[in-house]
Symmetry: none
Subunit: 401 residues, 2 copies
């Protein structure tokens, strides 16, 4: 019976042809005053490109499922997101360069404000990153191993950190130690099965000790932990698809994800232009380029329709620079939709555009959610995007005789 990954992998061949996958995070949306942000944005380059491409709509997991960034990206990279499941902790950890080993347990953390027995601010007033770094250092210095488990904090941006528990016998079957909303009492982690009791005890002891160490700190006097996870073992894109891939992504989450599937990580600044200038710089060295533009998602999450329009319009201006590189395949799509109306990820499918010499051009003349629905590719699981991409780059042999 069909194993998509196995079939695709067996047919993949190494060729010099080059592929650019531009992910405009959270691009898809819902109309506000009759237009989605993508429709309202000034996108002359994407529209021209769409009219010279084959288009469609993709479902990241399956119809109706709202994906996190992990499953949404895995799917686009050709990994079945229901087969390979990733904790958010591991993504965050890898993204900020934390060394995570086979036995390690990691989680995402927030510094938070505890007052009168309630978590009054889950983000500790978004403390500056250097205050965060100082607190992590202080905790790392004062904290002793717990049941032979060494615990280390790694500061992220603002109030965010990653914690790594290094020791034997740890499991990730733990609930989040996070009340999820402000003005609720702190929550300890709970083992989700009987294997998790010892790990839960160690994590909760760590929360207690850290809260003690943080006493006296005005805002950041408590911590929340979520997304407990261990190191997942994924076949690399090199092994699966014979690709030599690089990620041109600035944010830790996406760098972490790219690293998990075996991509090299390019050094890239925070602006939209940085993504494109970095791609130009590293273009000679790889044959698969994952470009990540975060802003449409961030604007969608904030419900800032105008910001989302601006981010999309700005990205559009760099399309000619991608085309100037003459990739054999250029795909523009999103990992998931983030409608401003919902201020969150959503289950709506992603507009998808594939430009290649071997693509059947369709009648889509504007890169939008609605026009992509009438594209030649139809509506399809994002998981098939990679097989399609490889086919158009002529990197797949014939199946059977």
């Amino acid at each position: 019976m069909m194993d998509r990954e196995k079939v695709t992998s067996e047919l993949s061949v190494k060729t010099p042809s080059k592929i650019i996958l531009l992910v405009m995070d959270g691009l898809g949306g819902l109309p506000i005053n009759g237009q989605t942000a993508l429709q309202a944005a000034k996108t002359p380059n994407l529209d021209t490109l769409a009219s010279q491409s084959v288009c469609g709509l993709t479902d990241p997991v399956f119809m109706g499922i709202t994906p996190g960034s992990g499953p949404a990206h895995l799917s686009l990279f050709g990994y079945d997101p229901t087969r390979y499941t990733l904790g958010r902790g591991i993504l965050e950890a890898m993204g900020i360069g934390v060394d995570v080993g086979t036995y390690d347990l990691v989680a995402r953390g927030n510094f938070a404000t505890l007052k009168d027995g309630l978590i009054t601010d889950r983000r500790a007033g978004r403390i500056p990153s250097d205050e965060n770094a100082a607190l992590c250092e202080k905790i790392n210095l004062e904290l002793d191993p717990i049941e032979e488990t060494e615990v280390t904090l790694f500061p992220g941006k603002e109030h965010r950190f990653v914690v790594r528990f290094r020791g034997r016998g740890l499991t990730a079957s733990l609930s989040d130690a996070d009340p999820q909303k402000n003005n609720k009492p702190p929550v300890f982690t709970l083992a989700q099965n009987k294997d998790g009791h010892r790990s839960a005890k160690i994590v909760n002891a760590f929360i207690d000790k850290t809260t003690d160490i943080l006493q006296g700190s005005p805002r950041a006097n408590s911590i929340l932990l979520r997304g407990f996870s261990k190191f997942p073992s994924l076949p690399t894109m090199d092994r699966l698809f014979q690709l030599n891939p690089v990620a041109v992504a600035h944010y830790p989450m996406y760098r972490g994800l790219a690293k998990l599937v075996g991509m090299k990580l390019a050094e890239v600044g925070p602006t939209i232009e940085d993504v494109f200038s970095t791609t130009e710089k590293v273009y000679a060295k790889f044959n698969f380029f994952y470009l990540h533009v975060k802003k449409p998602d961030a604007a969608g999450e904030d419900g800032c329709y105008e910001e989302k329009i601006k981010a999309i319009s700005e990205t559009d201006t760099f399309i000619p620079r991608l085309l100037a590189l003459k990739p054999d395949v250029l795909v523009v799509t999103s990992d998931h939709s983030t409608p401003c109306l919902l201020k969150s990820h959503s289950w709506h499918p992603n507009p998808f555009l594939l430009h290649s010499r071997t693509a059947q051009q369709d009648q889509v003349s504007e890169f939008s959610e609605i026009q992509c629905a009438s594209g030649y590719l139809g509506r399809f699981p994002a998981l098939y995007a990679m097989t399609l991409i490889l086919a158009h780059a002529e990197k797949l042999k014939k199946y059977g005789a």
Copy 2:
């Protein structure tokens, strides 16, 4: 979980309703000067038919996968091509009427020219078929059994033959004994797992002995073997779908494939008209007619755009004769696409048209790749074509109560 084959099979009933499946091999293509061959061809009958039918696009295996003729046809016949895999040797063997038993190993062969230790022509200058037949006879006469394995050659057209190894303990896990390109040294077969060592030894001894026998022959003085395969066991269309099917196909490959799924084989000449006149002749005796028109694929493989247009236009003229038979279901589609641009099979989906009293007519008014994309059937796996066909022929009972 759903087993499509099991469900379809359990619901299938014998009825007198008649189905014609016209496969225009390699029909789908990519535009050249703005038009695919199908668009450029003169197809007034197919266009009228499309406007009175339900249309769509099919993926032979899954999106992005380029199928060989075997998987592409199996899929159309309702057999999962990732579940039933076929060696090309077995198809070729059955197509030329070779008796293949359970223990037999077969392969496709070429006569080739060996000069100064290099294969200088993999097709021995396409020797005439009668020279081929004489050589096969000579080899069959002079060759003794090898390790109790009887080896027989069966001539095909020009330089092609099938070889059958008849004996116990043979396996098909053997690499091709074919350098694939001219001006490379000959290649022996290699066992692909430890079970294959004895079979490899027998095959390689056969190559040696045959090369000796061919010494002195000017062009055909060497052989190449590929597609080692054994007899696959497929449920017949009669058993699966309660059909009484016949193949109206001239070429060995397609006759072999039809035979594998239990079709009767009609005697049919090489022209396009032969397909239609033979169908008329045998129409009373069967209720499922697989019609195979090879020319669009052959022209696509050669990159002959004008030839492909001509073959499609010619086929179109016979559509009224099919309609005159008043089949309950008439389907026109291809097994896979063969764009002249690529000169090979491709992964692009097939235009699909289903004409029946029970079909939901859509707004497709021209039988083309692009128009079919907006058909009512949408884009779907070719594997579901048979279920759809049976349904429209009212040969499927209700599922569940």
